[in-house]
């Protein structure tokens, strides 16, 4: 009985040793950060590892802030971010002798959504702003049915909120009555099940029992986001320490190249350029 236990321990330690020895030959790449960029980075990493079996990519989410913090502290090679780096973070990085370089990898368009039974089709930016300031409180004021408006927003720390705050609210405050939900998925759930609700999600989350609204008469799409006519769009970034070299550089090139951009499109974001067929 005891002997077999020892054998097991021995076998396990041998496996571990070989495992460590085996992985010593492989190059490692660590990616952390924004949950918005996560699905794209995940798929890209899988495809990249298939093409380069000698590279091991470990990838995790946690949010833009966490990713940049990890880059600043030297814990990651690439930091995904759904926003640009902030001044405080740059100062922090400089102190640690880290020089963050931004690489734009995709564009995300943020779309206001309502319940499918809502009759409203289009809202202007000022109208959206008044709704989120709780100055307009009933859909009937906008030509819809007589229903109270339930405002659904994202948490104030999220990259999606930041874009909405800047592009729609013009940096003015969202009413404290707004429900703040923790993810795109949660907003989809909440709006889908609520005839009163208005929310906003990334363009990749459309079509799941939601009605997307036009903004200033422009429908959100790849074309309108790319040519800049759709007003609520933002770039998504990968940050590296200094101009990338070696595997990091190769991966970033893969990301912005046609193969990476195809993944961007498949995951519901807007690619950086029109993709040939």
């Amino acid at each position: 009985m005891k002997k077999s236990l020892w054998l097991k321990v021995l076998a396990l330690s041998m496996v571990l040793c070989f495992g460590i020895a085996g992985s010593a030959f492989a190059e490692k790449l660590v990616i952390k950060g924004s949950t918005t960029v996560l699905p794209v980075a995940q798929k890209a990493a899988e495809d990249y590892m298939k093409m380069h079996p000698d590279v091991i990519i470990s990838i995790s989410g946690g949010g833009s802030g966490k990713g940049i913090k990890a880059l600043v502290d030297g814990f990651t090679d690439i930091a995904n971010a759904s926003r640009f780096i902030k001044k405080k973070e740059i100062n922090h990085a400089m102190k640690n002798n880290i020089f963050p370089v931004a690489h734009r990898v995709a564009i995300d368009a943020i779309v206001p959504v309502v319940h499918p039974t809502n009759r409203i089709k289009n809202l202007t930016l000022p109208q959206l702003k008044s709704i989120y300031q709780a100055k307009i409180r009933n859909w009937k004021e906008l030509g819809g049915d007589d229903r109270k408006i339930v405002i659904i927003s994202r948490d104030t720390g999220s990259g999606t909120y930041e874009v909405w705050h800047k592009k729609v609210m013009k940096k003015e405050r969202i009413s404290p009555r707004a429900q703040l939900l923790a993810s795109n998925g949660a907003v989809v759930q909440a709006v889908k099940g609520n005839k009163h609700a208005i929310g906003y999600v990334g363009i990749g989350y459309l079509g799941r029992g939601l009605k997307a609204l036009d903004v200033n008469g422009v429908t959100a799409s790849v074309t309108t986001a790319l040519n800049g006519t759709y007003p609520v769009a933002r770039p998504l970034f990968m940050f590296t320490n200094g101009w990338p070299k070696g595997v990091v550089s190769d991966f970033i090139n893969f990301m912005v190249g046609p193969k990476g951009q195809k993944i961007v499109k498949e995951e519901g974001f807007v690619p950086l350029y029109e993709l040939g067929r």
Partner: protein
């Protein structure tokens, strides 16, 4: 002689080893508290304690930012209060039923089922509240949103009931048999025995159970994050959305820049939460010490 000395040393070493193991958890707790305060206190360079605790506006990412958490504290208290109003009678009464009244067959089924409720992951309960209960509330009460205080309290109560119930059961179980037998022998009915003997004798245990159940509810994160709605405002009705403390921390921490004011403010909310649950535990401890049933004469 030599042998005895060796044994003595061995005894000594074993004793110290056990002491070390026992203190590990205290050391870890201590380190966490130190870290919590170290990361939380710097916010009070930016805002005063009064502004932080009693300010009603929570706009942590604006320039200039507002760090008032009164509405967040109220959110936590309201949700915890209502959930206790549901969970305490349910938990205590079901424990009394299971341990005193139910026959062995019913007991065999009820006890594991109540305990199984504790095994449900909080995210599952949260999902249930979000996808099933929220639309249900909206339809039945014709209210604009189902993600509200009532829904969150109900889900939290579901989580607190097993805690309260099983701890209460333990307390009742600890009542000495001769008390029960004496009461029945004196001609008291079963109801009289329960209400005048069993419950008073286990009162300290029951209070501890209630308070631990409440501190479970106030610290619970996932459920309130998913179901409470997350509006940082002081509620006007029980069908309004609120944003309890754990939900704020969990939702915002991931995206906040490291060591920014917002980051420190979230840790400061953590301090408030820690002090609250710590007080709850202190009270529980105090009650269980003070009202401990020592003899049988005081009943």
């Amino acid at each position: 002689m030599e042998k005895a000395k060796k044994r003595h040393i061995r005894e000594y070493l074993i004793e110290k080893w056990f002491l070390f193991l026992a203190t590990i958890s205290i050391i870890i707790l201590g380190l966490i508290v130190v870290f919590l305060f170290k990361e939380g206190l710097p916010i009070f360079k930016t805002v005063s304690v009064g502004e932080f605790l009693f300010g009603q506006l929570w706009y942590p990412t604006d320039e200039p930012a507002d760090f008032g958490i009164l509405s967040i504290i109220v959110g936590s208290l309201v949700v915890t209060g209502i959930s206790s109003m549901i969970a305490v009678p349910l938990g205590v009464l079901s424990a009394i039923y299971i341990s005193e009244i139910a026959g062995p067959g019913v007991k065999e089924i009820l006890k594991p089922v109540v305990e199984l409720l504790a095994a449900l992951p909080s995210v599952v309960i949260g999902f249930f509240g979000m996808v099933v209960m929220a639309p249900f509330f909206q339809k039945v009460f014709n209210i604009p949103t189902g993600l509200n205080i009532v829904n969150a309290s109900l889900m939290l109560a579901m989580m607190a009931v097993p805690t309260i119930s099983s701890l209460t059961e333990d307390a009742i179980h600890a009542v000495r048999r001769e008390l029960r037998e004496a009461s029945l022998a004196l001609g008291a009915t079963q109801w009289e025995t329960i209400s005048r003997v069993i419950v008073p004798a286990s009162l300290s245990g029951i209070c501890t159970a209630i308070i631990l159940g409440m501190s479970r509810a106030i610290g619970e994160t996932m459920v309130v994050l998913m179901v409470a709605g997350g509006a940082a405002t002081i509620p006007e009705s029980i069908f309004d959305s609120v944003r309890p403390m754990p939900a704020s921390i969990a939702a915002e921490m991931a995206e906040t820049p490291f060591r920014s004011d917002h980051y420190h403010a979230l840790f400061a909310i953590g301090i408030v939460l820690f002090i609250t649950t710590f007080l709850f535990n202190l009270i529980a401890d105090y009650i269980s010490q003070k009202y401990k049933q020592v003899g049988t004469a005081t009943l």
